[in-house]
Subunit: 328 residues, 2 copies
């Protein structure tokens, strides 16, 4: 029998076929929340791991419930229960892990080794995106202590993924706009001052700032894209590659006023850093590499990588100026 | 000259006149977020205190930014800077404080004494709603240690308010639905089990469960209402006055299955409680008074109080059954 309502165009069929089911782990976190939203928004059947360790953290539970209301499936599972991880992974095609790797929040990067084992055992996953979303650890062999732990641990996870033969995409998203633009590139600040800014070094090293919603958008775009299979996706929106001084200028233009400026030499920065506690030191090391050394922009993307705004020119990413208007 | 577009009906004029400007303190918290939303939603010009102590808590900062986007004004101020509190208070007619008083989050009730001083000094505030939103402390003279600290501290704040002659409304909102319904009235749980529940005592003492959005809705309704001036607003939605066993029955009906049940006698509950740390003990004391003693429903509302669902019958409050459907 002929059912006209069941007829689909070739394009529609293709689109339906390529929408993988996605599991997000760490879905209540800062980036995880946005990944879930983007995954649902792009029409993926979306699963979110609900970890019993959440306890009586009512705001996280309510985030999970709101995902459910928006159509996501909650799946119980725990890093302390390998069986539960395997079962969760078996439900989907793509696994995205967004557990925190920032020491001032929590550093759970190596927990992912259990997830790698689970994905290997399950055997059905077409793509795994481990928790990266920052500086490319493969470019940070010479990073300083103690911040290098972030990169070292991420490389351990990468090795486990590749040894297990799991298809992957690594996402290097560079600087989260909320932290870097909110703070005018100053560590310890996330609301831009209208009075004063400390310039790190000469303030001229270029960094790359990405709206966290755009990170999530590009990340989800990549999951079914053969061009990013077993590659690193670098998110480098061309208009957002700017030095600290350029960021400050944009802000000054928006508020119609020049900020008072002082300068922190690299020696001063490092001396201050050594007085902080461990978690702070890790974060400050990253600011050092980004703002004093320009580690995000001192290399070309090679054959192992792709650039997000080139792959997905249809995404109208948020410019630095537009992002900063929210603080006015 | 006659401007027809400037003409307003008497009713519109009245509504415009009675919409006070509202300042919310603690606006990024669990209840505070909802108060800001309700205040904006009911058309009040809404101010939210932005405390520099927020540091690099990026999720709170982003909540503040989203309020700004929705039309709220952010006002810098700190409990460590009395001048800033006075200045903030001078901007508005009504001050609502929602700093946390729950020890497992933080217990900041007595900080409000500084706010009382600021309101007194500013001299312009038409109504102050201190952080209450739970059990009426005036009914808890005989509460147990260590939980009674919550009630004692709230009474200290009440006395300061009344001694200063500040017009007030106290809101007794009873049990937050997220905690009590989510946990089937069991402390330490906020997601309802589909397998088992521990019944506290005979499970027959009546408590009162209120959707947190409804708490915020009623609270904002009261700020310009002369009927609640210098009174306590009790939120007692009649259909939500239920025992633990009745709550469990509603859940069982929703999931189509009976839970296994065990019972915790009051002696067992108190013995377990004494083994916990201080913050936990405070919370458990409150569960004890609510679930074993029925402290929320063992008194009539007298002349000093008003009942919210009677005052505002137009509010279609969320019933327990409707609330619990979100967990299905």
């Amino acid at each position: 029998m002929y059912h006209p309502t069941r007829e689909r165009s070739g394009r529609e069929r293709d689109q339906m076929e390529i929408k993988s089911k996605v599991l997000v782990i760490g879905g209540t976190g800062y980036l995880g929340k946005r990944l879930v939203k983007a995954s649902l928004g792009q029409g993926h059947e979306t699963y979110v791991l609900y970890r019993p360790e959440i306890g009586v953290d009512i705001e996280k539970v309510q985030v999970l419930l709101s995902f459910k209301e928006q159509g996501a499936h909650l799946v119980q599972g725990s890093f302390n229960d390998q069986r539960s991880l395997v079962d969760a992974v078996k439900l989907v095609d793509v696994v995205i892990c967004a557990v925190s790797g920032v020491h001032i929040r929590s550093h759970q990067i190596l927990l992912q080794l259990k997830l790698v084992d689970a994905i290997k055992e399950a055997g059905n996953v077409k793509r795994f995106l481990p928790s990266e979303f920052g500086t490319d650890p493969a470019k940070m062999e010479n990073a300083m202590e103690p911040g290098r732990v972030t990169f070292d641990d991420k490389m351990v996870v990468r090795k486990a993924i590749e040894d297990a033969g799991i298809p992957f995409t690594y996402v290097s998203a560079n600087c989260f706009a909320g932290y870097f633009l909110g703070g005018l590139c100053q560590p310890g600040h996330i609301i831009p001052s209208r009075e004063h800014v400390s310039i790190l070094g000469n303030g001229k090293e270029k960094a790359i700032y990405v709206d966290e919603d755009d990170i999530a958008m590009y990340t989800i775009k990549t999951v079914d894209d053969p061009r990013t299979l077993n590659k690193t996706l670098y998110i480098r929106p061309p208009n957002n590659i700017l030095s600290q001084r350029e960021v400050v200028q944009i802000w000054e233009k928006l508020i119609g006023k020049e900020l008072r400026k002082s300068t922190i030499s690299s020696e001063e920065f490092l001396a201050c850093m050594r007085e902080q506690d461990y978690a702070e030191q890790v974060g400050l090391t990253h600011y050092y590499h980004v703002c004093y050394e320009g580690c995000l922009t001192n290399f070309e993307i090679g054959d192992e990588g792709e650039e997000a705004s080139e792959l997905y020119p249809e995404v109208k990413y948020t410019t630095v100026e537009k992002y900063m208007k929210r603080y006015l």
